[in-house]
């Protein structure tokens, strides 16, 4: 049996590359009392198994806790589990649970409760079930010992269990009320008890006086107001109606940063923009053409014009963002990003692939005189996606490629990008990928692996490369972190050769918080842990906030 310290050390290794938590997270001398008023966005159910959005997690994480947690410094810590061990064949992971914990409805938290939740997730196909790939069953070995049985070793299991949506809810409440019941009244073991909820308006969480972590939480209550309009969120923060606004527009950041009563925090997220390249269509099946497309995009220009210079960060590695296990800086020496903008290099790569301007019309043609024309699909959604697509179109046209940009309605776009290789009609499509578990397993096995071609997985490029598949499988099963990190690095290096997508910048997360709020953590996955926050009452009063 191998002790969890090994995994923790690996997490620490990963953490060394991560950004540190917000500076105010370390503020000393927490004060008790007060109500923290946050803005949130809950479009779906509150039931964790059916809502994996950051907005949903922000709400239910106040009440619902995981076996392990990943903190703002992106290190995995024990939570409901106090330790864990892995069997020699790495097919069984056993957790020792903390004792004396109760769910808010009085049900004791034990191995049986934990096993029930995960077995139910497998049986009922909760939305996160793809992250539990290879998990056969979960058994309660004793009152406080629960084992996860795997068909094949999975190094991603622990980080995936830290994913907030895999929190453990009360089996009693679930059996009595079902998903629908917990969807509006979440019952877990967390520091706050949900007492009120009105869909589309607010959710109120009151302090759990019987919370198992002594001395916590500091706040009396957390009120989450659901405010979908970002301008309204910012105005409510400025007027003092709420204590925190998320998703602050990039162009508002300079103005809000000058306000003495507000703190503006920007951190890189786990989401990287990319352009899907349909690897099955000609000439996009040629890596040289795909590399040329990558070199033709001025990523710094995108950051400057679409994100006001602050809303996104230039990517340092393919697919993985800083903070994901195994991340390494894969930029060429002296370059600001991978595939740094170089139009001449792009043109020469395209020429090597047989495409050049043969008739002086500024567009490239092949030897038969057929021009290179591509269809780029996008949607008017997300943070500046449409603007990025427009820029990509113009950059590719400078390379001599005719690009037909089509804007699809969001649901249509989603449906069209979920089709298999025979039905898919796009050449290029703008998307973003997120690695919420901060583990590379999902991008390696589920986003780029040959077995993950749409519709089975999330490989929309229909990219297939034996070497990346082999490295992904090795990393998936490898228990030794150093070796695993090596496989991840080799996998990224191979991706740079293959260029299955056009790699674009990584988006940043921006929040603005009142200066009297301390201790809250904004995680790169986009969730906000308000349960660890506290309020400086004197400062709040000084700012004239009397609610």
């Amino acid at each position: 049996m191998k002790a969890y310290s090994r995994i923790a050390s690996a997490a620490a290794l990963a953490a060394s590359t991560f950004l540190s938590a917000p500076s105010w997270a370390q503020d000393a001398k927490p004060q008790y009392g007060g109500e923290l008023v946050l803005t949130g966005q809950l479009d779906k159910t509150m039931f964790p198994g059916r809502n994996t959005d950051a907005g949903g997690m922000d709400v239910y994480l106040n009440s619902c806790e995981n076996l392990v947690e990943m903190t703002g410094d992106r290190v995995i810590h024990p939570m409901l589990a106090k330790s864990w061990t892995t069997s020699a064949d790495q097919k069984k992971v056993t957790f020792k649970l903390n004792e004396g914990i109760q769910f808010h409805d009085g049900t004791p938290f034990n191995a049986e409760a934990a096993a029930f939740v995960y077995n139910e997730a497998l049986a009922k196909k909760f939305l996160y079930v793809s992250l539990l790939e290879g998990l056969e069953k979960v058994t309660a070995d004793s009152e406080y010992e629960v084992s996860f049985h795997l068909t094949t070793p999975s190094a991603a299991l622990i980080p995936n269990l830290a994913y907030r949506t895999m929190c453990i809810f009360s089996p009693t409440a679930y059996k009595a009320k079902g998903e629908e019941g917990l969807g509006s009244n979440i019952i877990g073991t967390g520091p706050f008890i949900q007492t009120e909820y009105t869909k589309g308006e607010y959710a109120l969480f009151k302090r759990n006086d019987k919370y198992w972590q002594k001395g916590k939480p500091y706040l009396d209550s957390i009120r989450i107001l659901f405010v979908p309009d970002v301008s309204t969120r910012v105005a409510m923060l400025e007027s003092g109606e709420v204590d925190r606004a998320f998703g602050v527009p990039d162009f508002d950041v300079p103005r809000l940063s000058t306000e003495s009563t507000l703190k503006v925090n920007t951190l890189p997220s786990l989401q990287q923009y990319y352009v899907v390249i349909n690897n099955l269509t000609k000439p996009l099946d040629d890596p040289k053409v795909r590399q040329a497309l990558n070199y033709a995009i001025d990523k710094a220009g995108i950051v400057k014009s679409v994100f006001a210079g602050t809303g996104a960060t230039l990517s340092q590695a393919p697919t993985l963002t800083p903070g994901v296990f195994g991340f390494a800086d894969m930029r060429e020496p002296g370059k600001d990003t991978i595939f740094a903008f170089d139009l001449n290099k792009a043109k020469s790569l395209l020429k090597e692939a047989g495409y050049e301007d043969r008739n002086g019309d500024k567009f490239v043609e092949n030897a038969q005189g057929t021009p290179l024309s591509l269809k780029l699909w996008t949607r008017k959604s997300g943070k500046g996606e449409y603007q990025i697509a427009q820029l990509v179109q113009s950059f590719l046209e400078k390379l001599g490629i005719k690009v037909e940009l089509t804007v699809l309605e969001s649901a249509t776009f989603s449906a069209s990008l979920s089709l298999g290789p025979k039905e898919a009609k796009y050449d290029l499509a703008l998307l973003g990928w997120t690695i919420p578990t901060a583990d590379p397993d999902e991008p390696m096995m589920y986003m780029t692996h040959t077995k993950a071609w749409k519709p089975a997985g999330a490989n929309r490029m229909f990219f297939s490369n034996p070497e990346t598949d082999r490295l992904a499988e090795l990393a998936h099963a490898e228990g030794d972190e150093t070796k695993r990190a090596g496989y991840v690095r080799s996998w990224m290096a191979e991706l740079l050769k293959q260029a299955p997508v056009i790699y674009l910048p990584t988006s940043n997360l921006t929040e603005a918080v009142r200066t009297y709020v301390h201790g809250g953590q904004y995680l790169p996955a986009g969730t906000y842990v308000g349960s660890s926050a506290w309020i400086d009452q004197a400062e709040k009063k000084k700012q004239g906030i009397t609610r």
């Binding site: 479009d43 779906k44 159910t45 039931f47 059916r50 809502n51 994996t52 196909k125 939305l127 079930v129 793809s130 998903e179 629908e180 969807g183 509006s184 009105t198 869909k199 589309g200 308006e201 607010y202 107001l225 659901f226 405010v227 979908p228 309009d229 301008s231 309204t232 105005a235 409510m236 400025e238 007027s239 003092g240 109606e241 309605e409 969001s410 649901a411 249509t412 989603s414 449906a415 069209s416 990008l417 979920s418 998307l431 990928w433 589920y446 986003m447 749409k454 519709p455 089975a456 997985g457 999330a458 004239g544």
Partner: protein, 330 residues
Amino acid sequence: MGFVSPDPRDNLPATWEGQKTGLAMARMILNRFIFMIFAGLLLLTFLFCLFHAIPGDPARLIAGDSAPENLVQSIRVAYGLDQPLMTQYTTYMAKVMTGDFGLSNFSRQPVLQIVGPRLLNTAKLAAWSMLLAMTVSLILGCLSATYWNHPVDRGITAFSLVGICTPIFVTGILAIYLFGVHLRWLPIGGMTTWKHYIMPVATLGLAQAAGFTRMVRACMIDALGRDFVTTARSKGVPEHVIVFKHALRNALLPIITLFGLGLGHTLGGAAVAESIFNWPGLGRLMVDSILTRDLPLTQGCIFFFAMLFILVNLIVDLLYRWADPRMANE
């Protein structure tokens, strides 16, 4: 030889006239309710067809873009989306007949439970806004017509034109920054206290009043130019009596129609105001449900919006009869 009435009904007692009017009114209300039921069912059928004709898979949206196909398929089965369209339609309509509009695809709460409070919130916003719009427009429209071509008229006309030309989201955000952020007089989002009503109601109501004022002014100018007004003036009737009793009563018919149509516009505008002021109303809910392809919820929202609109038109018709007794017998 006495006068013989050509119509025997003329000899009936006066109470019969009242009964006849009441009967016509009851018949009209009953007809309207029957119409409402048919219109509602037709609307639901149309929406059902529309939602299945446009691309986009609700199961895919529930599962998320990256979800594997087997998970999406399990959601299709769980939500009955794998059934033949006709089966889905008949099941849905049969449930609607019993008052069950199904569960929201995302929140898994009954649609009625979600829509009910939201409808009430939108009705509150629309009612107060309309009340403000009617009051302001009647006063300003009458003043404008009375002082035709006078600086008062020009000032009111300028107000109307600015109001008509400025979209609600602009006035709303300006109001938020002025009264909410800088002066801190009024709360910005929600509908907890009476103070929360002021900005959304004023924004929506005054925008509507701007348009109404122009129409009231035109109707009143027309009425004030009629012969009966000249007669009244020559008889020495005070001007305020001429304006408010004689001219306004005669100008009311087109104005009532205008207000009725305007309410539809207010309900549309409410969706924008609800987003800006974080008002938990039906408009915002409907927009969200359309974007997420939450079919049961969208159907519920549009159905109740349509019912509200038909109901308002019924009220307008009743008001018509009050304003013009000649209509009562038709």
